[in-house]
Every structure is written in C-alpha cells, then in structure tokens.
C-alpha cells in the first residue's frame, strides 16, 4: 500500500479518448504473471509501442520523458471493462498517482483506491477546462478535496473512508480484520445461506 501525499502537483498526460478500457491500459497478453509489480513498460503498450516493439514518437506519453508526471487526465468513463488490477499496477508503475476524468468505472475505482492511486471525478466543464490547458500544472489537495489548474478551482468528492485510506496510506485489510468479532458473530448466527450447511 502506497501512502499518498495530501498535496499532489504535477503536469498531466492527456488521453482525450472516451471509454478507455482496461485492455488498452494493459493488454491481456501481459497477464500471464504471478507478480503485482513491474508493469510500467506494459502500460498502454499498444499505444506506446509498435508491433515490433519500437517506441512511437508523438504520443501523449512523450511527456513522461520531460520529468515527473504523476497525473493522467482521461476522457469520460475511464477504466471500463475487466477487473484486472494489473491496470492500476501498470499506471502506478508508470508513476501515475492520480487519474482525473468526468467518469471512472466502478471496479477500476475500487482497485485504484487500494493501491494509493486517487480516482478523481470532475464535472464535464472542468474536464474541458483541463483539456484546454494541457501543459498547465494541476494541484490536487486530497485533504480539502480541491483541484486547481489554469486559474480555476474545482471541488471533487471522495467518501471519507477512501480519503482517509489514500492520505494515510492505510491497508484496507487491516481495517477489515479489525471487524473479526463481528464476522465471527455473523457466521455463528448461520450466515445468509443456512441451507448450505
């Protein structure tokens, strides 16, 4: 579990395409692994590299070479498709700490929050503002739930639990295990499927 600073400031990679699915973020052929790290070069592999493995020039990912970029600004409905957490690991291994979009898919959001990757949903208007100022710095305050770029500020929502987990870098399994007595009690009452016993 990575902890996340409350303030993140960086320029962004912009991927304006809508409905970017997890097969784009990491193609299925890279999933024959037993590890949860080392996916950086596989992130958006078919967008960044030719079929012979040559790095494509002139892609939005060129910006990665110009220094630390930790924010991805992506089109509506980012991360749809498969539940592969490898998609989050790939972005994390690419150095991305925040994804900003006007909508982010449910399972991707859930996976992101467990890996210190902040999924931030902004209005379509503010998303448009960000794409009109693609080279400007973006400042994100996870404590104040506020995002600032090119002279405009946007408030975003993140439920209190997710915010705490992100900022404190806590492992959700620790939290879940703290409920062991309640879980044992639930089980001793027969659970939800008494007929299976």
């Amino acid at each position: 579990m990575n902890s996340q600073h409350a303030i993140i400031e960086s320029r962004a990679i912009h991927l304006p395409q809508t409905d970017i699915d997890t097969d784009q973020i990491i193609p299925g052929r890279f999933l024959t692994t037993v590890s949860d790290s080392g996916f950086g070069e596989m992130a958006f592999a078919d967008w960044r590299f030719s079929s012979t493995g040559q790095r494509r020039e002139g892609t939005p990912f060129d910006a990665l070479r110009d220094g630390d970029i930790s924010i991805l600004v992506a089109g509506h409905n980012f991360g749809c498709g498969s539940s592969r957490e490898h998609a989050v690991w790939a972005l994390r291994d690419l150095g991305i700490h925040v994804v900003i979009s006007s909508r982010i898919a449910d399972i991707f959001t859930s996976n992101a929050l467990k890996n210190g990757l902040a999924p931030i949903v902004v209005s379509r208007e503010f998303y448009q503002h960000l794409t009109e100022h693609p080279t400007d710095l973006i400042t994100i305050d996870l404590q104040a739930l506020q995002l600032n770029s090119a002279g405009r500020t946007e408030r975003f929502s993140l439920d209190a639990f997710s915010q705490r987990m992100l900022v404190e870098g806590r492992d959700q399994l620790d939290h879940l295990l703290s409920y062991e007595p309640a879980i044992s009690d639930y089980e001793s009452r027969g659970g939800a499927t008494p007929w299976t016993r």
Binding site: D21, D46, S83, D106, F161, G191, A192, T193, T196
Partner: protein, 489 residues
C-alpha cells in the same frame, strides 16, 4: 418495535433483500459496509498476488469450504491427442508458454498450501469459472458470489448478488470471507413481449447496451424483469447477467423462479432433502416487492429486437446484423470505424470474415453450442474461415459430444477444442491475427482484445454460425436452406 415493523412493510428491491442478508457491519457516512461473501471463485490469473499477501501476513484462508478454484484463462484449449468422443480423458497438457505454466503451477501450489479445492485437468468438473459455478450447483439464489473477474455478474442469473473484484479484494475475501462495499443503486430493466425466432439472449443484451451505453449502468445493479426475461432458461439468463458489466453495471440479477429451482435441484452442491425444501421457501422471498421504486428504470419491447452485431470497439457499438454501419456521432465512433476498417453506410456483410469463435462465459454453454450446431449441420465452413468451438467446461464438452455436436462442427471443418476462456481474452495462445475480422460469441470487442490488431464483431451463437458458413455477417434469419444468404449482399 414500531420502527422494525415499519421497516418490514417498506417495499424492497431484490437488491435490498440480498444486501440486508449479508450485512455484517452496516455502512455509514464514514465507512463502507462489511459484506459477507458466500461463494468465492478463484482462477490462476488474478489470484497469485492475493495468496502472496496472505503468506506475507501469515494469514489463513478463512473459509476454504466457500472457496473453489479452477484453471481456465491461460490454459491451452488444444485438442488432446487421445481425446475420445463423449468420455472424459484425464490429460495434463503441456503448457508451452513458460509464464502461463508458472501461473498454473502457482495456483496448484497455493491451493495445496491454503487447503482450497482445485478443479485441475484431472477433474471432469474443470471449466470456465462462470460456467462451472452454476453447473456444480455452487451458485444459488440468495448468495453473494465474487471472483477476480468482471463477468462474475453471470451468477446473478440465480437471484444472487454477484460481482467482479480486483486482486486486493481477492486477498480480502480469502482472509476474512468479507468485503468492504458501498451498496450499489438499483436499476430495473423491464422487457415486455417475446423475442422473435432466431433472436437470442445475446441479441437482447447487445441491444440493451447499445441503448443505455457502455457506462449506462455505472454504480448500479441491474435487475432484469418482464415476460421476455422470465421466458428464458437459465443458460440464457446467464448470458444476460454476464454482460451487465459491459453497460458498466456493478452487478446484474434476475429474481429466482421455478425455472431457477428446477435448474439447481439435484446438482452436486445443491441442498437436498429437507434442506432443499427450506431453501426453496427461503428463495421464493427473493423478488422485488411489487410497488417498490428503483433508483433508475428503463423499458423495452423485446419483440422489436433483431439479431445484433457490433460494428465498433466496445459492446455498445451495436446494430441489427442486417443493417448498415451508422454515421459517426462523435470522435470515439470515428476512431472505432477507422480501427475496424468500416465506412459509415456500408453493410458489414461487404467484409469477409476470417475467424469465428464460439465459446466463452457468455455463450459457451450447451444450449449455445446446440443453437450454432443447428445452423451448421449439413453445411461446410465458407472458404478461408477458421472456426473454433470451445466448450465452456468439461461437462459441456461431454454433453455436447454425447449429442453428436462435435461431429457436426468437425465435419463442417471447425475445430473442436478443450474447455477454457480461449479467444475471448487471447492470453493462452488462441488469438486472432492482426487485421483479421472475427465474429465472436464472447463479450468484448475492445481494440486488440482477441490479439493485437484483431477486429472483433460480437454476435449470438446463431449469427456466428451463419457467419461461419457464409463467410459474411448476415441476419441469420435470412440464411436459406441451401446455405446461401438470400439477401443481396
């Protein structure tokens, strides 16, 4: 007590009822609910790192009795040399890809170490995780079912709350048999009327997703209702719920009824004797109350749905199979047409089909194979068409063979293969070559999904079979007796 009786009289959705039964700790503004999980299905691709985390913590699997594992995603489907018709052959295939072999061995090792039952290659019960759960009677009404796979929504066909999770959540379920969850919103999708002959559950879903959009049900659990839904058998209901995720839904579900009970009864893990009767009594309560309000709802007339085909790069980009490629509405449509090599206004039947894939957790069950075999029987594959038929499980394979379906497919020139996910996710060596056009009964037509540069058209088993014998995408209802499309193409 007044508040309790008030609560009892408040109309509730099926989702409400499923949720309430599984709340260990209720959700609050500050924290998500702790939700109990009844069934955890495990496969080789999304589990290795989860087991590693348990090992690092010195943790055990809390409920091995509610956990079952199989091998399906990265496993070969190459026909086994000594395969005999209608009989299970116990063969451990050589997995040529070293990474895939390691993944398979890792699951074997993890299951042994943590005491989990693994349906390996020596098991007649092995198959795609979402095919074997129902087949073995593991998936039952009223349950919560999870798996590190987005198509876990399939099991909602039984009136359960079933959803896909990531690897970290797999570790949570292994360690605690619970998950931290916020309750999804409810979505009623009502289908009046009945489907026309030649139109299937897959067409209904492609139509539905094209109407509400690929993110149309994000944060919602869809309940499918109405006469068109209740007329379906369980396998069609599984196809419906399976593709809920392609509309962005957290889950899909159908209230259990006599069709459901008849399917479950007598299966290896189904309750029996007095347990069966009490189970059915319990399951009959699993319906949305008549006057309940859903967060969202949508109504459709099933009789108006035609056989569907996708023309683009996500499942919402679908149209009637006999129709013309639509004019692009936005950049994503333009990009999709460019990737697919299609022009607005043209018929997809202008393009030669290279590959037909019949299988997957969406359409790899016996009824799917039977529907396709009816079209294929007595015909030959069109020139330059490769067709893979991949049964969803060993059980499906054996059932199909005992009915002679394998012979129908093989004599038409198709490949009859071993069970697995195969070309749906293309991580086991079964893939579509760059530039090739594939008609696939699977669930996703994303760019490169079936192999880098592959172009996928999603379709029902009937439409896929018609494409296999004509080499073109046609409305399968136009397939004349002589095997030639009667429409002008």
């Amino acid at each position: 007590m007044t508040s309790a009786s008030n609560q009892d009289s408040t109309p509730r959705t099926l989702l409400d009822k499923l949720w309430e039964r599984h709340v260990v700790v209720p959700e609050s503004a500050h924290e998500p609910a702790v939700l109990a999980i009844d069934l955890h299905l495990v496969h080789e691709v999304t589990s290795p790192a989860a087991f590693s985390r348990l090992r690092q913590r010195g943790a055990k699997v809390r409920r091995p009795d509610r956990t079952i594992a199989t091998l399906d995603h990265s496993t070969p489907t190459t026909p086994v040399a000594k395969s005999s018709h209608g009989e299970f052959v116990n063969v451990f295939p050589v997995i040529e890809d070293a990474d895939a072999a390691r993944q398979v061995d890792t699951l074997r090792h993890n299951c042994k170490e943590f005491g989990i039952r693994l349906l390996d290659f020596d098991s007649q019960q092995r198959g795609i995780v979402h095919v074997i759960g129902p087949e073995l009677g593991l998936s039952q009404p009223g349950m919560t079912v999870v798996c590190g796979d987005s198509h876990t929504s399939t099991h909602g066909a039984f009136g359960s709350l079933a959803f896909g999770i990531g690897t970290t959540e797999v570790s949570h379920v292994l360690a605690t048999q619970c998950l931290l969850q916020r309750k999804p919103k409810s979505y009623a999708a009502d289908f009046s009327g009945q489907l026309s002959p030649g139109v299937s559950a897959k067409d209904l879903m492609l139509f539905f997703i094209s109407q509400i959009g690929i993110d149309g049900a994000t944060r919602h659990a869809i309940e499918y209702r109405g006469p068109a839904i209740t007329a379906f058998g369980m396998e069609d209901r599984m196809t419906i719920c399976n593709m809920s995720i392609e509309a962005g839904a957290r889950a899909g579900m159908i209230a259990p009824d006599e069709t459901t009970f008849a399917y479950v009864k007598g299966r290896p893990h189904a309750p029996s004797g007095a347990f069966w009767d009490s189970a059915v009594t319990n399951w009959k309560r699993l319906t949305s109350d008549p006057d309940v309000t859903f967060d969202r709802s949508a109504q459709f007339d099933a009789s108006q749905i035609a056989p569907m085909i996708t023309w683009g790069t996500n499942p919402a980009m679908a149209m009637p199979a006999g129709g013309r490629v639509p004019q692009p509405q936005d950049d994503s449509w333009r990009r999709a047409l460019e990737y697919m090599g299609f022009t607005a206004g043209q018929r997809i039947s202008d393009h030669h089909v290279d590959v037909v894939f019949l299988g997957s957790c969406t359409n790899g069950r016996l009824s799917d194979l039977q529907a396709a075999a009816q079209v294929i029987e007595g015909r030959r594959l069109a020139n330059d068409v490769r067709m893979l038929v991949v049964p969803g499980s060993q059980e499906v394979k054996l059932q199909a063979e005992s009915r002679g379906l394998d012979r129908i497919f093989k004599s038409a020139g198709a490949e009859w293969r071993e069970p697995g996910c195969s070309m749906c996710i293309a991580m086991n060596g079964d893939r579509v070559q760059a530039g090739q056009l594939a008609v696939s009964t699977s669930n996703r037509n994303f760019e490169g999904r079936q192999g880098r540069g592959s172009r996928t058209l999603l379709a029902s088993p009937i439409t896929a079979a018609a494409a296999a014998v004509t080499g073109r995408v046609i409305d399968p209802r136009d397939l004349a007796v002589d095997g030639v499309a009667s429409v002008a193409v």
